[in-house]
Structures are given as C-alpha cells and as structure tokens.
C-alpha cells in the first residue's frame, strides 16, 4: 500500500489537527458570510470556506473533486457572484429595518432547531470507522471516477450535459434586452443639437496665445474675461484652474498707475481683479501708437527706483 492510500484509509493525528484548525476557520467563514453586512465581504468569507472545503475533499481522497472545487467554485462561481455584485452595486448594504416583526428571532430559532435536529440525528446514527478509498483509488482517482461516470452513471451524465446547455441558453435569454426604439442617425442627432440650442461649432481652445498653452488656463475673450467653455468641467470642479485674467489685469493696473505717477497725473483707480476693455487695449502696443512710450516710461521709473 503506497503512502497516499494509507493516508486515505487511516485518520492520523495530523489529519485531526488539520480538521480542527481548518474546520474552525471554515465555520468562522460561514458565520462571516451570514453576519457581515457588506455583500463583498460575505463573498470573500464564502470563498475562504470553499477553499477549506476543497482541502477537506483532498484529505478525504477525493483528489479530482478537490481540484474541481477550487477551479469551479472558488474560481468560476464566486467570480460570477462578484461580477453580479459589482453590476448590481457594491454599496447596497443590507437594510437593518425589519419588514416582518420578530422575523429575525424566529429565523434564528428555526436555524437553531434545525442544527439541533441534524446534530442529534448524526449522534443517533452509528458512524463506524473509515473503510478508506485505497482499493477504489488504486488505479488513480480520476480513472476510477471516469470509469464509473461513463458506465454506471452515463445517463445521468448525459442529462446533466443537457441541463448545462439549457442553463446557458436560459441565462442568455433572461439577461438579453431587445432594443425597442430605433437608434438615431447622425443627421437626426445633428438636428436635435441645433433645435436644443447647444454650442454648434467646436469649443474654444484653452490657453492664452503666446504665453500659456496649458489646458488648465482658460482662454481669454476679447474683453479680458476668461472663456468658461475653454476648460474641462472636471478641472473646474476639482478647482485646478489657473485664472490668468486676474493677475494680468492686476499687472496692467500697476503699470498704468506707475505711468501716471511718472507723468504727475492722478491715476485712475482700478480694482486689480476687475477686467476692463481699456486695460486690454492699452496692453497691446500695435493697437495704440502712444502706449509703448508710456510702457517704457514705466519701466524707466522702475529702473530709477531700483538704482536708488
């Protein structure tokens, strides 16, 4: 008898230790599945319990089923559960409101009664010792299972194949949605856009020409105000937009004031953030002929102050 057959026939101390350690974890996983409110955490607990059950299958000589348990249950079925959980909404935690009065306590009592019934039933039964699968698994677990499956249980096997096909078709049918209304053509979409009065040409580009070209700088309109539609809504709601117009207006106002002081004229009082058409026009040397001299004068006065 080879060692694996021996391990299957007798219950060693090692197996007892394995049973008590893994059994405790399996029960905790089961309790977690029932008691944890978040559905994703429940699913993870259940996956843990299933992996431990796979180890018990392996310890009991069901080598093929142990692997199938991990591949099919933990791999496929639990992933399917998680897919549907994500589809349905993870945040949907169970409500704690009782719709039926006392239902929770009654359910707990029923479960306790069922547990007592099952466990006393097992206690009444005469469970002997393990015969062991040494003889049955002699030629390997998988060949022995296959021999049984394709001789004694071949009809059940065929029926179960049909069942799987029906289930696959049924699931496809249930989740399939027929499109009721016709999808809109490009022309219809364009007409709808015009009728709704939305912006028809492309949106203005971000950035101020020749100074900034980053997407977080709104483009400036001719009067110096920022164009709201030139930057993304996401950046605006995150508060990551750098407004250029305010600082530009402030520097222009400062320049104007210095120029006026240099000429000994009273300076026009202007708010630093207030955008004004005149300031913009003065900032453009090519638009007005006398302005460059003013600007140079301002810079000269600055240099004089620095020299002092």
């Amino acid at each position: 008898m080879n060692p694996t057959q021996l391990a299957v026939a007798a219950t060693s101390t090692g197996e007892a230790v394995q049973f008590w350690v893994l059994g405790t974890v399996a029960v905790l996983g089961g309790l977690g599945t029932v008691l944890i409110r978040r559905a994703v955490h429940s699913a993870l607990c259940l996956a843990g319990t299933m992996i431990i059950l796979a180890m018990f299958y392996l310890a009991n000589g069901a080598y093929f089923l142990g692997v199938v348990q991990i591949v099919v249950y933990t791999g496929a079925v639990m992933m399917l559960f998680l897919f549907v959980l994500m589809l349905v909404g993870v945040s949907a935690a169970d409500s704690l409101k009782e719709t039926l009065k006392g239902q929770r306590w009654l359910a707990a009592c029923c479960a306790l009664g069922l547990g007592i019934l099952l466990i006393t039933g097992i206690g009444q039964a005469s469970v002997g010792s393990f015969t062991g699968l040494g003889a049955a698994n002699a030629g390997g677990n998988v060949p022995a299972l296959a021999e049984l499956l394709f001789t004694k249980y071949v009809v059940a096997f065929e029926v179960i194949g049909a069942l799987l096909t029906v289930a696959a078709v049924g699931a496809t049918l249930l989740t399939h949605r027929e499109r009721v209304e016709k999808s809109k053509s490009q022309r219809e979409q364009a007409e709808e856009r015009v009728r709704a009065g939305k912006q028809l040409p492309p949106l203005p580009a971000p950035g101020v020409y020749a100074r900034h070209n980053a997407v977080d700088r709104p483009g400036l309109l001719p009067d110096g105000t920022p164009a709201e539609s030139s930057v993304s809504h996401t950046l605006r709601s995150r508060g990551q937009i750098r407004e250029v117009s305010a600082e530009q207006m402030a520097s222009l106002a400062a320049l104007e004031q210095r120029t006026a002081e240099y000429h000994g004229q009273p300076s026009p009082r202007r708010g630093p953030a207030e955008p004004s058409r005149r300031a913009i026009e003065r900032a453009r040397p090519q638009d007005a002929g006398e302005e460059p001299a003013d600007g140079d004068g301002g810079r000269d006065s600055e240099r004089e102050e620095a020299a002092k």
């Binding site: 599945t33 000589g61 089923l65 496929a76 409500s95 698994n137």
Partner: protein, 99 residues
C-alpha cells in the same frame, strides 16, 4: 478522530447556510448561503464515500457541483433582471411576479 466529525462540521455549515437564507435580505447573499448549504452536503457525500470505500459518493458530489453551477447561472440572471426592473437586489422588493 471519528469520521463523524466531518459530518458534524457539514451539519454545522448547513445550519449556518440555512440561517443565512432566512436572515439576509440581499438576494445575492441569500444565494451565497444556498451555495454554502450545497457545499456542506458535498462534504457529507465525500466523507461517506471514504467511509464506505466506494466512489459513488464522489460521483454524487460531482453531479451536485454541476447542478449548482447551472443553478447559479440561472439564478444570477434572474437577480440581474430583477435589479433592472426594480433597481434593488433586496428580496423584500420582489413581492410581485410582474410590475
């Protein structure tokens, strides 16, 4: 260790699963508890297979697994459909066969 320990563990897991089916409202969690009960039944089948020294129990457990897979596929499709029509996965909201 007595072979009955495996059966006791399976009974305990089955009871926990049944309690979950009765207690929880989220249809997906109820479904997961049904899966736990099926797995507990599989554990008894495999323990009995070893106890009696033949592989019929393992074949039964194999069939249970296949049926459970088919059941999960159809059940989750029904849950997705219910969620589409009612925007909730709670079993309390699905009190009518038709909207």
């Amino acid at each position: 260790m007595s072979p009955a320990n495996y059966v006791y563990l399976a009974a305990l897991l089955f009871t926990i699963g049944a309690a979950g089916v009765l207690l929880r409202r989220n249809a997906i969690v109820v479904f997961m508890c049904v899966e736990l009960m099926l797995n507990a039944a599989n554990l008894t089948l495999i323990a009995f297979s070893r106890m009696h020294g033949n592989l019929d129990g393992q074949i039964m457990a194999f069939f249970v697994m296949v049926v459970a897979a088919a059941e999960v596929v159809v059940g989750l499709a029904i849950i997705v459909m219910l969620y589409r029509s009612r925007h909730s996965a709670s079993v309390d909201d699905a009190n009518l066969m038709k909207l």
